[in-house]
């Protein structure tokens, strides 16, 4: 029974990892940018949620109304102001610049909020659970999981059913031709980053409700997100969700064997998949 419980909880945890990963997957798909600061931006989302809830006295999930637009605006400005000029064939400029952003974010959060662990208080939903057979499944993990599914579905809809999505796919296929067809790629990239950070805001708030966080934990979240993206296959959002689930299940099975092995077994599952299928399980585009 413990094992079934571990697997079910792992699947639900996978929803959170898919939320970490969806933003990464989106911007990589559109502009081949790997954002080292992604994890720190998730943590920034959590801290913005903390400030919003304490100032306005609202529920952390309600704070998304404020945090999502804020993060989206930050994403657009970041992309137009800095990141656009790093894009090109050379890998180093975006890597260094986002590394720089990561160091700046971590230390700014440290200055503003100190290194003390913080947590978002979501009240009753943190502990509420429903009985399924002999399993007790928490309301919060279920909420996280279905949020992840709806966000992936929403992104998928935007990508394949809207004018914006057509623009995303056009610049992804060929930037120059897209530009000739009248798209402003700098603006499109800005919108993609805005969307990515809006998703990141949701990820940050859920992270903050689920566990305590401090300015230094961003790097670990980036790695989980990255692993989910690679396991699922580049450019495939549903694949990313499955990647997150595989990661979550692997971690929980590891933790079931030995509590110290939780994170390690997630990484090892990732490396095994890398050996068997280097392009991930369901690749759409080549890296």
């Amino acid at each position: 029974m413990d094992w079934i419980n571990a697997i079910v909880q792992g699947v639900l945890l996978g929803g959170l990892y898919a939320l970490f990963a969806a933003g990464l997957s989106l911007i990589f798909g559109v502009m081949r940018l790997v954002n080292i600061a992604h994890g720190d931006l998730i943590i920034l989302g959590a801290y913005l949620g903390l400030t919003t809830t304490s100032i306005l006295g609202i529920h952390p999930l309600m704070s998304l109304v404020v945090v999502m637009p804020l993060m989206a605006l930050l994403g657009y400005c970041l992309q137009r102001g800095i990141l656009n000029s790093t894009l090109g064939d050379d890998l180093l400029p975006p890597l260094l610049v986002t590394f720089g952003l990561s160091v700046i974010l971590q230390n700014s959060l440290l200055e503003l909020y100190s290194a003390d662990p913080q947590k978002l208080n979501a009240g009753i939903i943190e502990t509420a659970s429903i009985e399924v057979g002999s399993l007790a499944i928490g309301i919060l993990p279920i909420l996280m999981f279905f949020t992840a599914i709806s966000i992936v579905a929403g992104l998928q809809f935007i990508f394949y059913r809207t004018a914006l999505g057509r623009a995303f796919r056009a610049v992804s296929d060929n930037q120059d031709v897209a530009q000739l067809m009248g798209l402003n790629k700098r603006h499109i990239f800005g919108l993609a980053m805005a969307l990515s950070l809006a998703v990141t805001a949701v990820a940050g708030i859920f992270l903050g409700i689920r566990t305590s966080f401090d300015p230094s934990v961003g790097g670990g979240r980036l790695i989980f997100g990255f692993e989910a993206v690679i396991i699922g296959g580049l450019g495939n959002l549903w694949g990313t969700l499955i990647g997150g689930i595989i990661l979550g299940v692997a971690q929980n099975i590891g933790a079931q064997i030995n509590p110290g092995w939780q994170l390690l077994s997630g990484h090892i599952a990732f490396l095994i998949i890398l050996v068997i299928k280097p392009k991930g399980l369901f690749p759409r585009i080549s890296g």
Partner: protein, 341 residues
């Protein structure tokens, strides 16, 4: 009168010969540093040497082999832990332990390289970080080395290096100096060797190089193993200076990779002089802004971003493009000279 013109191809120049002379003088001076300056400055010099070694290695990996790794902390931490494990459990002298750890670093780099070379570009970069995380979490499991909270090097082992504290600190300074000379010398000789020529051809155009019969995978793999081994050595020395190790400190991505990348980029990627200039600028900034606390890291991040966006060839690249100065004779150039007699 017709003066015959002669051309010859040369690597060195009067400047580079002068520089090698000055380098020898500087090395003698640096050897004498413990006698000339106080403890704080000597410690600073020691740390600078180790960062310079890390930066030169990272630059070989990323600048020449195109292997942009953000996981070199895996080897730094491995070196540190090998120093502790081999001295505590196997009873080796610290210096023997560090030498052995270099070999272990090379051996570990092989399977890691085979695995991680399956990823390309940016995903290679983060893949190396995952490897470093696996190392960190694995070493945190070893309870006899202090598990997650880490441990200190036992006093008896520390004393085996030299009996007096002053002599120990001087030894560790000279070791750092020796290692940085070894690393820069190795990188320099490697780049001038046949393999180095292949590497530079790869850097300039992979397709053209492979059509000339260069084995891309093998050339990059050799570089990965060599840098892995040398980075492990540096890691051993870093933790011989610190005398205390924990998984968090040993495998810190910011300390051993982010700052190293900043140094290389600030100095100028693609030149062997770059890391030296970058290290000097990095530590000058650190000393200037020491009073700011963590805010200094914010300034550093901003400065690195500024250099990348406004002067992507770095400080040294800027100087070089303006004045055509090459301190290390790595490039060939055609010179014309007149023969009057």
């Amino acid at each position: 009168m017709n003066i015959p013109l002669k051309y010859h191809v040369s690597r060195s120049s009067r400047l580079s010969r002068l520089v090698s002379f000055i380098t020898v003088l500087a090395l003698i001076l640096l050897l004498a540093v413990p006698l000339l300056v106080g403890r704080a400055d000597r410690v600073l010099f020691g740390v600078m040497f180790l960062y310079l070694a890390l930066a030169s290695l990272w630059y070989l990996l990323a600048g020449y082999a195109g292997l942009v790794s953000v996981g070199q902390q895996a080897f730094v931490g491995l070196g540190g832990y090998m120093l502790f494990a081999l001295t505590i459990f196997a009873g080796f002298h610290p210096l023997t332990a560090i030498a052995i750890s270099g070999i272990i670093g090379a051996i570990i780099a092989m399977p890691v390289g085979i695995l991680i070379f399956r990823l390309r570009g940016a995903y290679f970069a983060i893949g190396t970080w995952v490897i470093a995380e696996v190392f960190r979490l694995s070493f945190a499991q070893i309870q006899s080395l202090g598990g997650g909270s880490g441990s200190s090097l036992p006093v008896a082992i520390v004393k085996s290096l030299a009996s007096s504290r002053q002599m120990r600190e001087w030894t560790s300074y000279w070791l750092a100096l020796g290692l940085v000379v070894l690393v820069i010398g190795a990188v320099y000789l490697f780049l001038r060797s046949r393999q180095g020529l292949a590497l530079m051809a790869l850097r300039d155009n992979e397709l053209a190089a492979s059509s000339l019969g260069i084995d891309i995978w093998k050339t990059k793999f050799i570089v990965y193993i060599v840098t892995g081994a040398l980075t492990t050595l540096v890691g051993g020395l870093i933790f011989l200076q610190k005398l205390r190790i924990s998984p968090e400190a040993a495998f810190a991505v910011n300390d051993w990779t982010a700052f190293v990348i900043f140094i290389v980029v600030i100095g100028g990627i693609g030149t062997l002089e770059g890391p030296i200039i970058g290290t000097l600028v990095f530590f000058a900034l650190r000393e200037l802004l020491a009073d700011l606390g963590t805010a200094y890291l914010i300034v550093l991040g901003l400065f690195a971003i500024f250099v990348m966006l406004r002067a992507p060839q770095g400080v040294w690249g800027f100087v070089r493009s303006k004045f055509h100065i090459y301190l290390f004779p790595l490039n060939y150039k055609v010179e014309r000279f007149r023969e009057d007699d």
